[in-house]
Symmetry: C2
Subunit: 466 residues, 2 copies
């Protein structure tokens, strides 16, 4: 419904009114304070019928009293007061509104009626409304956030997040930062009074700060248009989607939540597959895919090279790679020759390459990285910490496994490369410190292979559609 650039006041407002600012605990208290802290004090204007002062800022009794032009209104008042406020907003010709208040379609019959009434007012004035029942937006580039977030979330990155649920959006932000991945912008949609996931997809498609999009939805009101939109975007930017409501019971659970109808899941499954969107099956997978897509180049083919110190782990990784559509082809003669130099008799030089305790991990790794027929590499570290610990003082994991004194976080390769450390948590920690965010470290081989398979499928789609 909106052309992309009409949404920019949500992320780059020039004057913000907070209707419902107040001195008691809650968003009305913390958001003005946060905005001031992030340097938005001179463009933030507080409104509450009681007037007075808050966080050293004047509080205006009526929106009309604000002595500055306003292009974004945040509404944090009890639900029944929202229609009246929206009427004020409309009459003052403010076009962009975030309604954070809960108590609408997610809260039973009377809430549904209230939402319908509110929607009518929004339509009358042609308002763009995010929410109700949301925590609004984040823009890291200018440190503008209507949500309370951890300081590190403000670090600018290339990932845009669209979340139907406020809490969910929050969770994603707090979680991906742990892996050194940061966002460009985030939006929580709530009950989608006028602005929905399709508007936001179009906006982030055009956003120069955004390279990829992660989206959580419970359903869409217009599946066909969502599909068309995704198909247009995915050749340019990957879109990773987590959708709940796979089962009737799961759909019933969401209906009380953001008041949306989630529809038949099987239709969504087909739609995502046909539009190049990457569907995560679980929350864990969403995180894994985000880490891999945000850091790895696309593979030129589907042949996975696996190097490991354990035949068992090589087998588990192979099973998972094959089951997810990758191939694990025999090594080329040249690579076999390179690895066999200095290899003990018992070592079977093949793919997956089990180097056992031969000390040939660095050599095998380099040979796989150099082999143009290997399109992506998974290194599975299996050394027990009790064995690695005594060597810790005299080596680094970079030298011991990856044939270089340069930490992995500073090296790049033209093919995807993931690490799975199946060992003590201390050793996992040592790897993460040396590698992330550049090379994601997983703690089991299967999560890595599934992510690589998605990377390959996306590359394949992109090649056919760009």
């Amino acid at each position: 419904m909106n052309s992309a650039n009409t949404l920019s006041p949500f992320f780059e407002p020039t004057g913000i009114a907070i209707v419902g600012a107040r001195s008691t605990a809650g968003f009305g208290y913390t958001i003005p304070s946060n905005l001031k802290k992030q340097g938005w004090g001179d463009r933030t204007f507080l409104v509450n019928p009681n007037g007075g002062e808050l966080h050293g800022m004047p509080v205006y009794k009526r929106l009309a009293d604000v002595p500055h032009s306003i292009d974004l209104a945040l509404v944090i008042v009890p639900a029944p007061a929202v229609p009246g406020i929206l009427d004020d907003i409309g009459r003052l010709n403010i076009k962009h509104v975030i309604v954070m208040s809960a108590g609408f379609a997610e809260a039973g019959e009377s809430g549904k009626n209230l939402q319908a009434e509110t929607k009518k007012i929004a339509e009358t004035y042609g308002l763009n409304v995010i929410g109700p029942n949301c925590v609004g937006v984040v823009n890291t580039a200018n440190r503008f956030s209507t949500a309370e977030i951890m300081p590190e979330v403000y670090t600018p990155g290339k990932l845009a997040v669209i979340a139907q649920s406020g809490v969910f959006g929050h969770n994603i932000l707090e979680r991906i930062n742990e892996y050194g991945i940061f966002i460009s912008k985030a939006v929580t949609l709530g009950n989608r009074l006028t602005i929905n996931e399709i508007d936001m997809l179009n906006y982030f498609h055009q956003d120069p700060d955004t390279d990829m999009i992660v989206m959580y939805i419970e359903g869409s009101e217009n599946g066909r248009l969502l599909g068309q939109t995704l198909k247009k975007i995915t050749p340019d930017k990957p879109v990773i989607v987590l959708k709940s409501g796979r089962t009737t019971e799961g759909r019933a659970a969401t209906e009380s939540h953001t008041g949306s109808l989630s529809g038949e899941d099987v239709l969504y499954d087909g739609m995502f597959a046909q539009t190049g969107a990457i569907r995560a099956k679980t929350l864990d997978e969403l995180t894994a895919l985000t880490r891999v897509f945000a850091t790895q180049p696309l593979p030129k083919g589907k042949n996975l090279g696996i190097i490991t110190g354990s035949g068992s782990m090589g087998a588990l990784a192979t099973d998972s790679a094959i089951n997810n559509g990758l191939s694990v082809q025999p090594l080329s003669n040249e690579t076999i020759k390179k690895v066999k130099e200095g290899a003990p008799d018992w070592m079977n030089v093949k793919n997956p390459l089990d180097v056992g305790p031969s000390g040939l991990f660095p050599k095998g790794f380099s040979a796989m990285m150099e082999d143009p027929e290997i399109h992506m590499v998974l290194a599975i570290i299996t050394i027990p910490y009790v064995v690695y610990q005594p060597r810790q003082a005299s080596t680094t994991i970079d030298a011991a496994f990856f044939a270089s004194s340069t930490p992995l976080r500073e090296r790049t390769w033209p093919k995807p490369f993931l690490i799975a450390v199946v060992s003590h948590k201390q050793l996992v920690g040592i790897f993460k410190t040396s590698t992330e965010p550049n090379i994601p470290v997983f703690t089991s081989p299967e999560k890595a292979t599934r992510s690589l398979a998605s990377l390959w499928r996306y590359h394949h789609w992109k090649k056919e559609h760009e």
Copy 2:
């Protein structure tokens, strides 16, 4: 092939000979030292043709020179020397042998021949041989270990581990300890010259120190007998199995490893299902199932109560629960009544129960725990850390969520209870400290629901077969 009690010298030897003790780096150097450190110095006797002394212990030139009766021999010599050593062992009437040396069936044609030759000698003397190509055994009760393990692995627990691969066995031990779960005994089978997974299952079935068994195999030489054995054991003790070789390529990967033929995977799938064994699909799932089975009672039915601060997470958990065979039934009138007291208007009291920011988490949790129609509970914590952090000084997670000042690790319930913390890693850490090992904390809802579904299926099997 062995009745259970004939295997006890592997775990409770009275005299151990280490054939291949040596002063250069490797198992021959570290194992004598470890055994001495753990109090086994007076029952450990070192053998090496060079004689001399090691770690302050005499080294005998021949096994026959050892001045003490020996009931367990550890063999750590180059593969070609193993048949000769086994002949010595047989002639001295020692019946239990662990061959750690690699270079047998896993190492190509000549290794296969060497293994066949070794097997013939073992059969001639009626030897019980664990290995070759393994790291032997661990018994925490008497701190006897032929593997190098982290000090905490010696903590006695109730879980027995059977791993075909030595590295894999090691990984499991180092990983589960992180969650406060400890083992009774472990065995790594390697190439299974005479002792195989069936022998070990029978032994652990009878072992009073063992309550449950975790097993990793690449295949079995006698699938029918494995099935019969599992069927006998599972009504008494749960057996969790991870089997690699799901795909042809994965099977090919294992064939070079411990020299076993892994067989058609689909047959194993049916066999595990028909014998009450719990098959983990991935390494991650093996860990999750182990944590849940080791700590939770069996559920009396399949109705899951979900309490959360986010409707989205409730929906994801419901989807996963239903897809895995659980039910998420409406709340009883009594439970609804209990929760509705003091609930805000917008709160929809149902299952999954999304308490939002109402502060009713403790009340909802208690009501679900008290409801006899709810057979297991999943609490999904979604509070952003930025919101919890300021409250940290004045509350505990036990009070804030679980209606008690007693830490969760000290409380018990007659029904399974898991927690998923979908938030910042700091908050995950706070939960783990308060709850584990008593209540496993996951970081996504789906892993928890899948584990609960396995718990229910096992209970159902047990009821029908005991």
